[in-house]
Amino acid sequence: MTVEMLAKTADFEPIYIADGEREILGGYAGDLLSWVMGRAKEGDAWVTIMSNVNIVAVCTLADPACIVLSEGVRPDEEALRRAREQGVSIISTGLDTFEACVRIASML
């Protein structure tokens, strides 16, 4: 599944898509940034409720395919600006973290 395919799925909404063709290879869920930094794999869909600018740096460095904000969370203004600048894709969903993960896993 590509980032764009996930963004277009029901209950998911693209906030900013940098590389829609990028393949999602797996997933990681977590809000503590050092855990994500240490455990998320390249190409993962990273599901989190964290919305501040630091998620963009983490995504740039740990290189998951996209950030999925669950629970209807929206990125704050600075995070969105940075995501555009750094080319980090952000998708939002009203689903809770568990449901979002289940859905993503079923589509891999």
Partner: protein, 140 residues
Amino acid sequence: MAGEINFHFDIDGGNFTSAGEASVRIKKLLRDMGFPPDVIRRVSVAMYEGEINMVIHANGGSADVNVSPDKIEIILADSGPGIKNIELAMQEGYSTAPDNIRSLGFGAGMGLPNMKRYTDEMRIESEVGRGTTIYMTVNV
């Protein structure tokens, strides 16, 4: 690439908006130089954790990255409060991060362990009241 190339960055204290910028810059530079993705990733993660620690715990500092064909050396130096018990600080889950920092997603106490895990060599020199210097090496 012949010999060694050196990069220097000043890291702002308390600035969470630009925190991680030096690591992002290094990642791009290493990519342009053609280093393997896993090497770049290990350097990026280790450097980011160190950079963030200086922002959160030491009111900023400096980062020097020495790039050679066979190894990448990262030296992070600050004049912050120092680390009283390094062995304790290295343990997974140990953190003194205040609540306002935790609400941003930091403070899991996983930064130093990540730095250790992602590098081939890591050495911490710290003196309470004087500051901390961390030397890390990633072999290519």
